[in-house]
Symmetry: C2
Subunit: 338 residues, 2 copies
């Protein structure tokens, strides 16, 4: 599953997204209006399915990155609005296809589009939203942006296929895991942050810094998401405990526990994840093994290292409200763990 944006629970420590919302919240409203406008079609099932997944919420992290990245480098026209919608359409299309691939019936604690409308509608409406994304880019007219997002889309698909190949395979190591999440998650964060630099025709060093920020934020975000899957506290935030375990996914916590595990423990992981033979008590045993090898803590440390890199990338820019807000977004990502 690509990391979905969990709904923000009231009174959680989600307040660190607030600076980003203070900065570009008005623009985000206009982006939401564009999203609604461009998901319309004369074929009524299309807006129905699209609304199910788009209106379901999520924090619009990627559009926020587009808007704030553009603000950071001084873009003062409306071009980032349509491109923010475009990035959200690409993300939504991958979520729709991902649910078919994961055979998931729940996302963010709600029924998936696939569960409500079926595989067929999810595949085809995903294709439609993906096409709409390209129509929005064409209307913007920048070949540099088109190249960035066409390359990004190809990498996303490669990452998803790579993940499919590594699912159920306990030979997956940390290096392969990082390759997969970089491709399936971090490149879209990277591209979202980079878009503003291209629109503003900024020097390559600034474009690289924006990209480095987004990519490291995306890496931290996905590692955190994979840790949350094994945290009972996270259930209150709309994530079901152990989904990845039940689907046989080799995420970082499991990879770390497997590698540090005894022969007997490895046999357990193989039975549960490779052979898919799970009994009810297995998840609780898995949690014990993760604890025994400090696998969740060690994964959190990896996430924090990416967060540090994201902060460092922003040092390329002089202090500003936009820079502060983007830094807070990094902290927000990590804070989901605590």
């Amino acid at each position: 599953m690509v990391a979905g944006d969990q709904a923000v629970a009231p009174n959680s420590r989600s307040s660190s997204l607030q600076p980003l919302l203070d900065l570009v919240g008005a623009d985000l409203k206009r982006v939401n209006a564009l999203i609604l406008e461009h998901m319309q079609s004369s074929v009524p099932l299309i807006p129905q399915v699209a609304e199910h997944i788009i209106a379901a919420g999520g924090k619009r992290l990627r559009p926020l990155l587009v808007l704030a990245g553009a603000r950071l480098v001084g873009v003062d026209n409306d071009r980032p609005l349509a491109l923010a919608a475009c990035v959200e359409f690409i993300h939504t299309a991958t979520l729709l296809h991902d649910d078919v691939v994961d055979e998931s019936d729940l996302r963010r604690g709600r029924q998936t589009a696939k569960a409500v409308f079926g595989n067929q509608a999810s595949v085809l409406v995903g294709d439609f939203l993906f096409s709409r994304a390209f129509q929005l880019m064409v209307a913007d007219g920048s070949l540099a942006v088109l190249k960035l997002l066409a390359d990004t889309a190809a990498t996303l698909a490669e990452g998803e296929v790579h993940q499919l190949m590594t699912a159920h395979d306990t030979a997956t190591d940390e290096e392969v895991y990082l390759q997969v999440i970089r491709a399936k998650t971090a490149v879209l964060f990277a591209a979202s942050a980079e878009v503003g630099g291209l629109v503003g025709e900024r020097p390559q060093t600034e474009i690289d810094a924006l990209r480095g920020y987004g990519e490291n934020l995306g890496m931290a975000f996905q590692v955190v998401d994979d840790v949350l899957d094994y945290l009972p506290e996270a259930e209150s935030r709309g994530k079901a405990l152990g989904d990845d375990f039940r689907e046989g996914k080799l995420t970082l916590p499991v990879i770390l526990a497997f590698q540090a595990g005894s022969e007997e423990e490895r046999t357990f992981w193989k039975r549960c994840l490779e052979e898919g033979e799970q009994q009810e008590e297995d998840l609780s045993h898995a949690l014990t093994l993760l604890e025994r090898h400090r696998a969740l803590d060690r994964a959190k440390e990896r996430a924090q290292a990416f967060a540090v890199e994201a902060h460092r990338a922003l040092e390329a820019f002089p202090p500003s409200d936009a820079r502060e807000a983007l830094k807070h977004a990094v902290d927000f990502t990590i804070d989901r763990l605590f």
Copy 2:
């Protein structure tokens, strides 16, 4: 199912595609090399799945239209080659997704990618090829071509969703059927023919004529394909008799027979197509009803009317080898019925 290009049987009347192959066969070889090159990826499952469907053959009708359309208007550079590959990638991506949607295990008498590699790989490799198509367009660099093909991709997806909504619905009339096949099939033929006009920066009248040719050819092609589904002779050409019937599709022959049918006959169609309750002898009864109401002949007449329009569109151009070859392609499409 989007009309696939059935493999050409030896000694069939397929000879009328020969003028097109004589005209641009050398370029088509280079297009095939580009297709092979651009379906590569560091993720090995991608070329495996892509090769299964792309190398399976088909006549490359859409790339042929790109090449011959460009030749017709005097384009003498290599740009149409990459755009021909791009159009084939879009077509292939829709086939991969279509097989998931249709739940088909056979296409052109071969196992579908879905049957061999599963739904998940078919969805994701389809996404990858679709992204590759946009990368090829971006490398070409024409915003006019990008706009044409992004719009086309959105319409294709709308057509597929519209078809999904009309499947199993005997209230589907000829007008809705024509809307669906125009969107899911004819627009990609139209765009393929139009590309050359855009690359050659020809006057709008010529671009419209190319588009009119491709669109009418595509309409004829899909109607013929839907008739072939009910012709036992077509089985020798790799198409299984009655696939659409078994899948509950409301194609033109059934629509014509349903509308002309008695109350009892309509009850039969509803049971078989809406309720999906079919016994073994039902297909043969369906063929009897199609015969009784001349439904296949009447559908053929519709296909021929589109063929006439395709020919007429070409009259906008002076006589040439390219024009003759494109006319022969129309005849070839219709000749599949005889």
